[in-house]
Amino acid sequence: MNLTALKKINHGYLFIAPFVIGFLIFGLYPVVNTLALSFTDMTLMTREGNWNDFQNFTRLFADDVFMTAVGNTWLLWILNFIPQIGIAMLLSMWFTNARLRLKGVGLWRAMFFLPNLLMPAAVAALFFSLFSYYGPVNQVMVRFDLLPEAVHFLQKIPVARALVIFIQWWMWFGQTTIILMAGMTSIPVHLYEAAMVDGATSMQMFTRITLPLLKPILVYIFVTSLVGGMQMFDIPYLLTDGRGSPSQSILTNTILMYTKFASSKGHIGAASAVGVMVFLMTSVCAMAIMYFLRDKDKDK
């Protein structure tokens, strides 16, 4: 081995060293610390906690709130993900369609993406004010006789849930469209030409060429959306009272974790247990999706 090769080796480590150190201090240690805390009865009021084995976890499962939060999070995520991927798929097919040759594709796409960049906290506060009792939605509805009198929209379970789902959809369908389009345009045109020569219908071309070749991208969208969805906080937290009202219908995993953390005693042990459980659930689901939807042909 000559001198330059040796020099190369050393410098590779030097370049990645800040990341590794940063990760150990700010990434890995907090995870380990959270895991440790989840087995203690530590609160923000006490300096030292006592080990209480699996008590935090058994309490979580004895308490309906945790399962409610997990159920809500899944419900809110799935109901926004389906229309999100559906509309994005439709839009990206239209935008890349050679027969339609739409004008201003870049501009449409750019506009649809805009909500994604806005501050979720501000978006939630906006919808909170739009749908509040004295808010403009009530004003307009009553003025045009669509409603006999003003309604406490945000105290109705279906409305609160529908709003969270709508906002999530509104913020993400543009981003999903951009990713799907990038995937579709990377499919070689000659595949479609060959299929056309063979007399394939456009439906056949979609199911036999587009979908299979898009699979890696679909898995990426699926997994990133799931991981993001399981961490949903800003919008359901700020849309109502910060406790998932009405009747805990929009109480998500992270809101539950936060309420335990911010409770009068600050039960950080119990809050950590929520974090650990949801962390495990999300990671296992993400890995399962990637495993089951992996490219099986590649393995052979």
Binding site: G12, G27, N33, L91, P120, A125, S129, I217, V276
Partner: protein, 281 residues
């Protein structure tokens, strides 16, 4: 038959454009309402919807200030945090990515897999352990706790690596070495200037993420003077502002408008950046 084909294509086009326009309205109206209503008085807002701005921006600002909400200060705090976050993210992600692209070393594959895994792992769930640890070392209620973790920003490294792989030419690196440039000088003087478009894309995403970050700031920052904009926005839902709609919308507009301006200028970088992050996964 050819005429038929043309007719159905046009019919299809009309349908598609109609759907696009409806989606556009759904996308834009909420944003537009915020911007317009920020300049209208509460009375005007309550009299009905309008899509034209009015002249009460300053009154609304005064209302907020009168109730102890210093929007200007929050704006400067957010700007400071977002700016530092951007610098830290961009510099360290490209530093790390350069190490991965240019050098061969033991454990490189493992390190790369770690980064890919970190992109997907929901680290938000370790915030409690993070908080308790920060409070032990006295970094709670300090912007450092928001900015320093970005030294290890896996998503940014992933993007920077994709970018550098396309840009860095080994010959260029070797030529710099022959000229006697040190490894770090090569990175700083030759590679970084070459990678400016990639730095911009990473920087824009880092800025937007930091600007919009509510959760971490909400947990870690406690002094009111240090509140960033999302934390102030959160207080806008309180009873104090219950019917001060003009003021509420102004608070929201201040958080939203800078991002819209950034997007108007840099949308090209942003759209291509999203596609690039996903394609090579």
């Amino acid at each position: 038959m050819f005429k038929d084909y043309r007719f159905t294509t046009n019919l299809l086009r009309v349908f598609v454009y109609t759907v696009l326009v409806i989606l556009l309205i759904v996308t834009i109206v909420p944003i537009w309402l915020v911007v317009v209503n920020a300049s209208r008085s509460t009375l005007e807002i309550q009299q009905g919807l309008s899509f034209l701005p009015s002249t009460h921006t300053l009154d609304n600002y005064g209302t907020l200030l009168g109730r102890g909400l210093d929007l200007g200060r929050g704006f400067m705090n957010s700007l400071f945090v977002a700016f530092c976050s951007t610098l830290v993210t961009v510099y360290f992600s490209f530093l790390t990515a350069y190490g991965l692209v240019v050098y061969k070393f033991k454990g490189k594959k493992l390190f790369y897999n770690l980064i890919v895994a970190l992109v997907l792992i929901p680290l938000q769930f370790s915030i409690i352990g993070f908080y308790q640890y920060m409070s032990k070392i006295g970094l709670t209620d300090s912007y450092a706790s928001l900015i320093l973790p970005l030294i290890a920003n896996a998503g940014a490294v992933f993007f920077a690596k994709q970018y550098l792989e396309a840009v860095v030419v080994q010959d260029l690196v070797d030529a710099a070495r022959i000229d006697g440039a040190s490894e770090f000088a090569t990175f700083h003087r030759i590679i970084l200037p070459l990678a400016v478009p990639g730095l911009m894309t990473t920087g824009i995403f880092a800025f937007v993420a930091a600007w919009n970050n509510f959760f971490n700031a909400f947990i870690l920052i406690t002094t009111r003077d240090k509140y960033t904009l999302p934390m102030l926005v959160q207080t806008l839902r309180g009873d104090v502002y219950r019917t001060e709609y003009g003021a509420i919308y102004l608070g929201l507009a201040v958080t939203v408008v800078p991002i819209i301006i950034i997007y108007a200028i840099f949308s090209r970088y942003i759209v291509s950046g999203i596609a690039m992050g996903a394609l090579k996964e």
